[in-house]
Symmetry: C2
Subunit: 365 residues, 2 copies
């Protein structure tokens, strides 16, 4: 059975769906692996390393003409044409509903597994790309904030006087938020965090940060560990109570995302105006409209003296580890999908396993 | 007595020679302070804050027509023309010897104090701008390296597998090197450091890093705590012994500077070729020719798969704290330079104090 690893062609993408170390393991399980030349170059994995791992280097068509295509980003129209009819596709689909690209893939008789649809169960944890990539995004978001902030993050006592630690607030305490907090604590910032789910307060404290407590009259805990959308009344209450806290922050990292919904506004223009000049906001929800209305997706802008970072692909800024984690997520998934046979690994019935059943894209009704 | 604070006009410069908090203290001592409009804006200090501190906002000519001009960067020809004849000037001169700009200032009957010439005595420590700015450069250099490195700096144990800590080597353990080490340790990197002065090994260990020990047959400890230039034989020995260590590094931060001499080559092209793709070198000696021959001053380049950062003004990337520290250095210096009188502060005889005597620029013989 042939696995294909093409070069990712989305603008700004530097990741690759598998790395030499993982390719070697797949080959050990009896797969043939076709890697498009240059696929790993931007992530720090040269062609030679794939070849040494046993992969066959090929052109783009060769990487697509396979039984199982592994991808990071959503395919484009040309990709769909190049896919082998009846094949299997695994990747992030970046799609919430009906979708021409997905329909075209299904029309080719393909089976498509969306990595975003991974169930949030403990058995699926090692395959969860949203988690692994959010972890990296949270780490990198704090570094980005620190690099764009005109002062030290840690307290500094020097012969030229002392500097107070930066006051940093993280909004949304999922995987990205927790890693942003942990990294900011490493760097010595004075860290506060807020999430609509009250059970996060203990996690915040365990990282040495302080939870911001607001009384909203309802909980924002939704299904599967994700946040749910709040009522309009609770949203207004939240915004007013948060504003005074946020205006005192020197750095805000927002990570409040609700799957397939516009991101909630948490940092208003009024808050930005009240922040000290030189403050920094990193909006990890930029691609979904942003947690701040002044955020411009894909750009870094200055508004009212505050730098607002709207970059939409933080994992691509840490491409070697982001690719390594993603590749391991895929390998762990493939592990439960295949059974050995005399002629090599064969794909099991994907509807029979909870994980693959949940991930499988079904034709629109 | 009037003090002037002009806008810094050097390309890429964001710092300012004084900040509102320090301006307020100077005014409390009886100085009048003239601040050019917009002088602190890029450092995060708006005009309103200077006005609230008691400064007079003025145009550029007004900021130069003063008894005592405070500057960060070397003046240009237009600046020298605008200076008041017979006045006093304090700033970084960025000059090692004969110099038309300095000669022109002296020809106007000015007294010029060069901040680089600050003696390295404990009494002068609170006035030492090279130290305060190097401290900031070291902090920011590690952040720059972390932001350009495609992997985590800390060890990470995740459900998608673990990541090893980055192996980071700091070359040159002065003020910048020590702060680079401290920041890399905060971020969880595995840190090694090397300096020609054996007495730095204890400092390296005290920060949780490991000293690299090489036998050169001579010590590189020079006068006043600076490094001295090694003999050709010792240099060759050093380079060969270091190369194997450096080739294993994922991040190298070089800070080896010898005042008024070209920077020594410590990271050869051969080492760069041997480093893992995606590695990062931050060369803090870029302005003096670099500790790596592939460094391009003022630029970030990729050579042999390694990112080489040759930015020459790291303190300007942390302008609020860099300006605050510089402003306090100047204020501490002014403190020992003036005596109170009924008509306000007067300048003492600058030749009588060791510190100001050492800083005073003398006409070329």
């Amino acid at each position: 059975m042939k696995i294909g690893i093409p070069l990712e062609t989305a603008s700004g993408e530097t990741r690759v769906a598998s790395i030499p170390e993982v390719v070697k393991k797949l080959i050990g399980k009896g797969f043939e692996v076709m890697v498009e030349a240059g696929a790993g170059a931007r992530a720090g994995y040269p062609d030679d390393d794939y070849a040494a791992a046993g992969a066959q280097l090929t052109d783009r068509a060769g990487a697509f003409d396979v039984d199982l295509l592994l991808k990071v980003r959503r395919p484009d129209t040309a990709d769909v044409e190049a896919l082998r009819p009846g094949g299997l596709y695994i990747g992030l689909l970046e799609s919430c509903g009906d979708d021409e690209i997905l329909s075209a893939m299904l029309a080719k008789g393909m089976r498509v597994l969306g990595m975003e649809r991974m169930p949030r169960t403990s058995r699926a944890q090692s395959m969860d790309a949203l988690s692994s990539q959010s972890n990296i995004a949270g780490y990198r978001a704090t570094l980005e904030a620190a690099a764009r902030y005109g002062r030290f993050l840690p307290m500094m006592m020097t012969s030229a006087g002392s500097a107070k630690p930066a006051r940093l607030i993280v909004l949304g305490v999922g995987v990205a938020g927790l890693q942003a907090i942990a990294t900011a604590r490493r760097l010595g910032a004075d860290v506060y965090a807020y999430d609509v789910r009250p059970e996060t307060q203990e996690q915040i404290r365990s990282l040495g940060a302080k939870p911001i407590e607001l009384d909203l009259g309802e909980s924002g805990a939704g299904e599967g560990g994700y946040a749910k959308e709040l009522s309009e009344e609770a949203k207004a209450k939240q915004q007013a109570a948060l504003s005074d806290q946020l205006a005192k922050a020197h750095i805000i990292i927002t990570t409040a995302l609700i799957p397939c919904r516009p991101a909630p506004v948490l940092v208003t223009e009024d808050v930005v105006k009240r922040m000290r000049p030189g403050s920094v906001i990193v909006d990890l929800a930029a691609a979904n409209g942003g947690n701040c209305p002044l955020t411009v997706a894909g750009e870094i802008v200055e508004r009212h003296g505050v730098t607002i970072v709207g970059l939409t692909n933080f994992p691509a800024l840490v491409p070697a580890d982001a690719s390594a984690f993603y590749a391991r997520n895929l390998a762990n998934l493939i592990e439960i999908m295949v059974a050995p046979s005399e002629s090599g690994p064969v794909i099991k019935d994907l509807a029979e396993d909870d994980i693959t059943a949940a991930m499988l894209v079904k034709p629109a009704a």
